[in-house]
């Protein structure tokens, strides 16, 4: 019985060894391309700039008095502001994102018929135009997009802002000036690479555009008389 047991154990061990040899024998040289194919490591082009084009409603005047005058002249509706922003990356924070400095330029115009002595609308046009200029510090966090399948990035912005403004009536410039304050922004962006990675790759190889994204940004300007809290939407590029 003991001998049978030893024989059984020896046979079992021999079987295991045999299987191991077979397994080692199956680790042969790859016979097909699919077996030999190793997914290449994608290397992006250097990324140092970001450009954003945004539009959003804007209604200046944080104080009660200026809001009242604005509504009386131009109505209660907001105008649409066009905003351009260019960011330069100072430092790539590993596994987090980029630290940038940026500059923004905006434009928005309001116009309506001026009033006559009786308070009725005349035939002449009065207008109010704003040109917000900002210098920003931008922290862009793209860890989710780089390290997971979630194509979202986020950004926080802060910096001084100067708003050049001008008011005209007919062919006459009534007044102009400069308002200074602080600007804040918080952005969420959806990377379009998610929809077509191959096209995104080609954009990078051919034009150096690393990423494109749709953005939604909360915008706050504290400039007196011309500031507002609003939102903007647009398109951005990183390259």
């Amino acid at each position: 019985m003991r001998r049978l047991l030893v024989l059984f154990v020896a046979l079992f061990a021999l079987a295991l060894v045999s299987l191991g040899l077979v397994d080692s024998a199956s680790a042969r040289a790859p016979d097909t391309f699919e077996e030999a194919y190793v997914k290449p490591v994608l290397i992006e082009s250097p990324m140092w700039l970001a450009f954003e084009l945004k539009v959003g409603p804007y209604k200046p005047g944080l104080s009660h008095g200026s809001k009242q005058v604005f509504d009386q002249t131009f109505g209660s509706k907001s105008g649409w502001m066009l905003n351009l922003e260019l960011d330069i990356t100072l430092y790539h924070i590993p596994y987090v994102g980029q630290l940038n400095v940026g500059a923004s330029w905006g434009w928005v115009n309001y116009s309506a018929k001026a009033f006559d002595d009786t308070g009725a609308r005349s035939g002449e046009t009065t207008s109010f135009t704003l040109y917000p200029l900002g210098a920003l510090a931008v922290l862009r966090i793209d860890a989710l997009a780089r390290n997971t399948v979630i194509p979202l990035t986020f950004a926080g912005k802060v910096g001084p802002e100067w708003v050049r403004w001008k008011s005209d009536t007919g062919t006459r410039t009534d007044a102009s000036g400069f308002n200074a304050g602080v600007r804040f922004g918080a952005q969420a962006a959806f990377e379009l690479d998610y929809f077509d990675a191959n096209t995104a790759r080609r954009l990078d190889e051919d034009y150096g555009v690393n990423h494109t994204f749709l953005l939604f940004e909360y915008y706050e300007s504290s400039t007196r008389g011309t500031g507002a809290r609003t939102f903007q939407m647009g398109l951005g590029l990183q390259y």
């Binding site: 200026s66 009242q68 430092y91 002449e124 009065t126 001084p160 308002n179």
Partner: protein, 453 residues
């Protein structure tokens, strides 16, 4: 028949083939054969003629520039008080030309270089397809032909078709002196032809043009119909500028711009008479209007080729003095527009100002010297490419008044005024500046640390 004989016969046949063909043709078409044998002019004066210089066209003694399209207008046709514009055509040749003739063809089908179009039709009872304009029989090297505008743009077949017709009684010269009513199309083309003999009185013969000379042509685009006046004027009052909007006339005529006349004297006020009185001129389809001729262009000669003459339309053109159709009193009262013909460019611009636009709203932003609360009478005319002006539209009055803009309203509100000082700082700017400063310091420290690492 031997081979050598065959070769001789073949060579002979080849040599005689042209003669045989000609004899055959002569049997079929005696005239054709005759023309073929008389291709070379026999007179030495017109042999080997050459053009020494281009066809020169002048409009009121001003050379029409090369490559310009001439927009002839109503002024070129003259009216009862002003004579029609004189058009002169001349060419320099290297030898004498016995006869030079000027013919008019209207549209693409009247090619006056074709001889048959210059011959009388109906066995001599009907005039030619083309219209005879004039002739030079001086047998010189520089023939010149001058025609008035009311003949140049007149293709009436009741006269002008024979030399001397314009001086012949019974040809209804008064009627014939009116231009055709056209608005830019069809094109009016004049043909300057050097000829051996005159063709206007030839009946049935077939005169030819001598030598290598080609037909020289010039094309005009006449606008001899006055445009229709705009309607439905509405005004926009203001302090620094006033405006007038109107409806474009429904006519299919090509219009280039609109011009508004502003009587800034303010003599009208409200109420009183409107236009329709004073010195008015009845206009018969625009033919009797007093209009200045515009700028001119020149012609470029080319042999047997169309000469396109294109130029910018005349800059100035007068309109008639009155709206003959408006007789009812108007709210916009008597002022400059009523008592003076429009335009009268000899008068000061401080009384009458104009503005033009291609759209249906015209603004006047030169209100210098015009007091506030002045009622300004405004009338609008339409202009065609030749510079012809329509009659004045029914006028309206527009008030120059003081206006209150956005910033005026803001100045009246203290809170708003603080926010829109010429240089304003937000209360939060200080805190923000500190935050930004700290942020910048932290950033600089971070970058420096990374560099050391």
């Amino acid at each position: 028949m031997t081979e050598a004989t065959m070769r001789v016969l073949l060579r002979s046949a080849a040599a005689c083939a042209p003669v045989l063909a000609l004899l055959a043709l002569s049997a079929i078409c005696p005239g054709l054969a005759a023309a073929q044998t008389t291709t070379t002019p026999t007179t030495t004066t017109m042999s080997n003629q050459a053009i020494d210089s281009n066809l020169v066209a002048k409009r009121a003694n001003k050379i029409i520039p090369n490559g310009t399209l001439v927009y002839a207008n109503i002024a070129d046709c003259g009216d009862g008080t002003s004579p029609p514009t004189s058009f002169e055509f001349s060419v320099n040749y290297t030898a004498n030309v016995p006869v030079a003739e000027l013919w008019l063809g209207v549209g693409a089908n009247e090619n006056c270089a074709t001889t048959t179009n210059r011959l009388k039709q109906g066995n001599g009872t009907l005039p030619p397809i083309c219209t005879f304009l004039g002739t030079d029989t001086s047998n010189s090297r520089n023939p010149k032909i001058t025609v008035p505008g009311n003949q140049l743009f007149n293709q009436s077949t009741s006269g002008w078709n024979n030399a001397g017709d314009q001086n012949t009684t019974g040809k209804n010269p008064t009627k014939d002196m009116h231009c055709d009513s056209v608005s830019g199309s069809p094109a009016y083309t004049v043909y300057f032809l050097p000829l051996q003999t005159a063709t206007t009185d030839v009946n049935g013969s077939d005169p030819f043009m001598a030598g290598v000379l080609g037909t020289l042509k010039a094309t005009f685009s006449p606008y001899t119909v006055r445009p229709v006046a705009p309607t439905g004027l509405t005004g926009q009052s203001g302090e620094t500028e006033i405006g007038v909007s109107f409806k474009s006339p429904s006519s299919s005529m090509t219009l280039t711009t609109y011009k508004a006349y502003f009587d800034v004297t303010g003599k009208g006020g409200t109420g009183g008479k409107g236009l329709g009185g004073g010195t008015t001129t009845v206009v018969d389809a625009g033919m009797d209007a007093s209009i200045d001729a515009g700028s001119s262009g020149s012609l470029d000669a080319s042999s047997d080729g169309a000469i396109a003459i294109a130029t910018t339309p005349p800059v100035t053109s007068a309109a008639d003095s009155a709206d003959a159709g408006s007789t009812a009193p108007l709210a916009c009262g008597s002022g400059y527009l009523e008592n003076h013909p429009v335009p009268d460019f000899n008068l000061s611009s401080s009384e009458l100002r104009t503005a033009t636009d291609k759209g249906t709203t015209i603004k006047l932003n030169d209100l210098s010297g015009v007091p506030l609360n002045t009622n300004i009478a405004v009338a609008v005319v339409a202009l065609d490419p030749a510079g012809n002006e329509s009659l004045l539209s029914d006028p309206i009055c527009i008030l120059r008044e003081e206006t209150i803009g956005f910033f005026d309203g803001c100045k009246a509100n203290d809170d708003c005024k603080k926010g829109l000082d010429s240089c304003s700082f937000s209360p939060t700017q200080r805190g923000g500046a500190w935050a930004f400063g700290l942020f910048s310091l932290a950033l600089a420290a971070l970058i420096r640390r990374r560099r050391r690492a």
